[in-house]
Symmetry: C2
Subunit: 369 residues, 2 copies
């Protein structure tokens, strides 16, 4: 089976380490190992590095469950980041000729990876004014063989947040047709106050991780929250495909969740500051515009009309060291992904460089890519 | 897609924590986090817990490559244990109606998991006298659609080690027919002195990990070593299915491999001692027999004729606290997996308990399962 490059991941693998100013990384500031262990210095005492609990450390499981209304033990399993969570859900649910629906722009995993399981895919365009779901277009995309809807909330790359009302509207449409929903919630409020799709729908599965809002991508701690029947099947699959996630990162995950107020406060302060600076920069900006997201570290910056996002991102990186993932990696040209989660020495100055760059920028290629 | 329980993993998940005397765990004694970090106390200094290098820490990659003759950078990628390595290789190679061959008794992943990819499977019985490959039966099992042969070397659960000659014989048969070979080498000599299948065949892929011989299953550090074209495709799949393995366990993996002489010496001493004790116990033993493996921590203990291995293992655990995985989990009844890698307070006494147990044992069920 051939699979296309995961464009955004490949872009980051290829170019990220050339970046001087990375304005596109979707994590919040990473914690170092020493900072994290300082929150509970004896957490790793006498810890044997064996397989640990096959379905995950009970304390970690309890902490993760506390982020949800339904705290039934059987509704949770652990995995290597939410991306493996999404993989496992698709591997379990999708059969040849099933149909899936995702949204565009979006996270390429949602439309490309289902093809691995011989499923077909439709990407429904989001409304361009506020990146909300076009429910009329969504309903038209549903087919008798539609098995699964895939989305992220908050959304990557636009940062749109679907509130409980919007989620319930989506659920009510899917419920009528018996369609599963997989909601990637890696950008969800780290204190678990915002609604989770898995709590709203008996065929709703949510994935989460410590990577983004907690600044701990390096632990690769992810999870899947969903109906017990699906979780049980995934646990069988896990026996073949990973065995366990290991006690070391699980113990550190416990520290993170038991100190989630500390971790989230640090991240929230950075995001709030960055969003204010970007909002200030965008006022009367002759080149760029963006809907500043109410939640999470991700937004989608609109480029001047007619620019190829790929060419723009490459030229900008070469000339200024400013690094973006282009919209073309998310299925929509004319934008770049702008992230708010990282501390910068002087963000306003870097943003001003963008305008200076535009003043003299004349790309050789201006066609869409 | 339905998938059957992974019997040996499920058995361990279900019963392992009831064990008083675990004589079946295939890892060597686990290192604790503190023991490992003591070998290089500054290794985690200033380590941000971000995604790290997407295709793995370059120092770790270099250390792993040093275990092979072909040390080309493009022939290696990292994963979550060798079991995920095996998963990724199968996901990449297997298409519907492909045929695979594995050996029986064996590791259930090799015949059950290919069915996930709509492939069919033949399990060729190993010779019962020395658990070597019956090459005549193997050749007869090959079909035009045979795509992949799967094995472990040293073998799980019998502990058989295929030397370079046996591997070359297997390769020569497969080469004629263009058949890939996946060799799980988690039990390979931790100093990389024994041959790796990946070094002997252009369609040979080896998987490895720090789980067994290094006593570091908790790091979940695994890898795939194979032709660059396959590794490149697996890296694309990894972007969808895991992103990275994370810098924390990678740095600790570097410590392990840079101190592999220390780790392997400790493990070898335990195995040598245990094998001598088991050999002594088996002399003139009226109930049990076993080929003591020349390498690695795994062997297959023959039970008295007519016993159900499942029933025996359950009854033994209940009465004595001695824990085995039954042969039925590996596709061959009448045996249990006996492991040599763990330190025991008084192994001979525990083994003697087995004989005492047998003296009065009359199972209710004696049929094969």
């Amino acid at each position: 089976m051939e699979i296309k490059d995961f464009k955004s991941e490949k872009w980051m693998t290829d170019y990220e380490r050339q970046a001087v100013y990375n304005l596109t990384d979707t994590s919040t500031d990473s914690w170092t190992f020493e900072e994290l262990i300082a929150l509970d210095p004896t957490a790793l005492k006498n810890l044997p590095l064996d397989y640990g609990w096959i379905t995950g450390d009970p304390t970690l499981r309890k902490e993760i469950l506390s982020l949800y209304q339904n705290q039934d033990e059987d509704t949770l399993t652990l995995c290597c980041g939410a991306s493996q969570g999404n993989e496992l859900v698709m591997a379990l649910l999708l059969k040849p000729n099933d149909h899936v629906i995702s949204f565009s722009p979006g996270y390429q995993q949602f439309w490309e990876f289902p093809k691995w399981f011989h499923a077909t895919s439709t990407e429904v365009p989001l409304k361009k004014d506020d990146w909300s779901i076009d429910f009329e277009a969504f309903q038209k995309a549903i087919r008798p063989e539609t098995k699964l809807v895939l989305l992220a909330n908050p959304h990557n790359p636009t940062g749109t947040w679907l509130d409980q009302g919007a989620l319930e509207k989506l659920v009510s449409i899917c419920k009528d047709k018996g369609i599963w929903i997989l909601c990637d919630e890696v950008y969800r409020d780290p204190n678990g106050k915002d609604p989770s799709l898995s709590d709203l729908y008996e065929k709703g599965i949510s994935t989460g991780s410590l990577s983004k809002q907690y600044g701990l991508a390096g632990l690769r701690t992810g999870w899947i929250k969903g109906p017990a029947s699906i979780i049980q099947s995934i646990n069988t699959f896990r026996d073949y495909a990973m065995i366990s996630t290991g006690p070391l990162t699980e113990r550190l995950g416990v520290i993170a969740l038991q100190h989630r107020d500390v971790l989230s406060q640090r991240a929230q302060e950075v995001m709030k500051k960055n969003k204010a600076i970007v909002a200030q920069w965008l006022k009367n900006n002759p080149y760029f515009s963006c809907t500043i997201p109410s939640r999470g570290p991700v937004g989608f910056l609109k480029l001047p009309e007619g620019l190829s996002s790929t060419q723009f991102a490459l030229d900008l990186l070469e000339k200024t060291g400013i690094f973006f993932v282009p919209g073309s990696c998310f299925g929509l040209d004319g934008y770049v992904r702008l992230a708010f989660g990282k501390s910068h020495t002087n963000l306003l100055k870097t943003l001003t460089t963008l305008n200076t760059f535009m003043e003299t920028y004349s790309p050789e290629t201006t066609s869409n890519d």
